[in-house]
Symmetry: C2
Subunit: 247 residues, 2 copies
């Protein structure tokens, strides 16, 4: 007997409006590299990550003394503390602090998810933690792929598919949208070697030009952390802190 829960995938923020958010957890995805970097920051002990959509907002926070990461088109913006590379968040300097982040696609997608009951941040680097946790909830799941400037991208749907592949083995998820099915099939094609699979993807080509091969390998490496970043108001916090605040 199939259960009542539904899995949907929005292949790009443009398609998020068409999703049914009723009783749903939204998983925001920007594998290359915002959500991977955010997971790394929490693994390094950051207290909160504040996602902002514009560089202007990021500057305002900087004036107030915040550490700020800012990236556009794959490159760190001059004058800020970090870009979008997960490696730059592997530092003791951020432990217990708040980091403000603005990126080309990911932070905008996170902000779109604010209306949902609950929104978490997913990446290959926390895939097992997030998949197991999702399965324990009595909730529908909506994956929101950040894409690239409103367009579809391969790596975000690949991650969605990897999680759908895990969840769909559980009978509680009785309904997979066509986009969830397609993501799963895509992942099944790629699972032997996702790095090779993404060889021809547009963003990998873009990052290759920027000499970011090491970042790509990192972002495709499973389970480097068990943190689950969750939106609480305007900020991302660790799941434990979110649950404490609700208790």
């Amino acid at each position: 007997m199939l259960g009542p829960y539904k899995i949907q995938v929005a292949f790009s923020p443009t398609l998020f409006d068409g999703c049914d958010l009723d009783n749903a957890i939204v998983v925001v995805i920007d594998v290359l590299r915002a959500t991977s970097a955010i997971c790394t920051a929490f693994e390094s002990g950051v207290e909160t990550v504040i996602p902002v959509s514009s560089i202007e907002e990021a500057k305002e926070y900087q004036k107030k003394g915040f550490l700020v990461g800012a990236e556009r088109n794959g490159e760190q913006i001059e004058g800020f503390d970090f870009g979008n590379s997960p490696y730059s968040y592997k530092t003791e300097n951020i432990r217990g602090k708040s980091v403000v982040l603005t990126t080309t696609n990911g932070t905008r997608a996170i902000n779109m998810a604010k209306d949902a009951d609950m929104a978490v941040v997913g990446a290959f680097t926390n895939i097992t933690a997030i998949s197991n946790w999702l399965e324990e909830q009595e909730k529908n799941v909506v994956f929101l792929c950040s894409g690239w400037k409103g367009r579809y991208n391969l790596e975000d749907s690949l991650f969605a598919g990897a999680v759908v592949d895990r969840l769909s083995k559980n009978y509680k998820y009785g309904e997979l949208s066509d986009s969830a099915l397609a993501s799963k099939y895509l992942y099944n094609t790629a699972e032997q070697d996702p790095y090779k699979f993404l060889r021809n993807s547009s963003h990998r080509r873009r990052m290759h030009r920027l000499n970011l091969k090491k970042d790509i390998k990192y972002c495709l490496t499973l389970d480097q952390t068990s943190v689950i970043p969750v939106l609480m108001g305007d900020k991302l916090v660790r799941l434990e802190e979110y649950l404490d605040s609700k208790a």
Copy 2:
């Protein structure tokens, strides 16, 4: 040496805005069933198909004496001559005539393609004709999937992937967008048995409820016609007529 032509796929009308239409032919797809039905109508000798977006427009044409097909949510609307089933267009009664058509998704997508240099209608039923013809053109190709009410659907991207699979063997297409790559991978997963592959798709479930199995089989049968319907102003005509008008 890879050639200069680009292939893009808009997984839903919502994503069409993000496509680069420069020097491009747009292929509009609504496999289940609008574009399949349109191809059948031309194979039956229809002179023009006039796609309209609303039922009100369709009624206006009906008052003027046109034959009119109208479908919403998979069912023919009462009071019109046809619905969306390809079988209803297998009739001598439409030879040499104009048929007005409005459907849930397909006709709206066709109308969105009006701004392109050239827009054609594709379905599994004319796949070889359309693939071979596209390959002969010195043009970029944009596939516009009608989807279902703005959402992604499996069958339209499957058809896009089937054509991308053929075209990508030709070196003239040097750039495949991520959505074109994903469509191709999806098709490669499905090509042994597309009918079985679509078993779980939302629209097939919907059509199954409406007892439309025979229609689905028909719409997935390759090469039942060699017609290529082309938009000329507000109407679809055969490619030959379109070319004569330009000569």
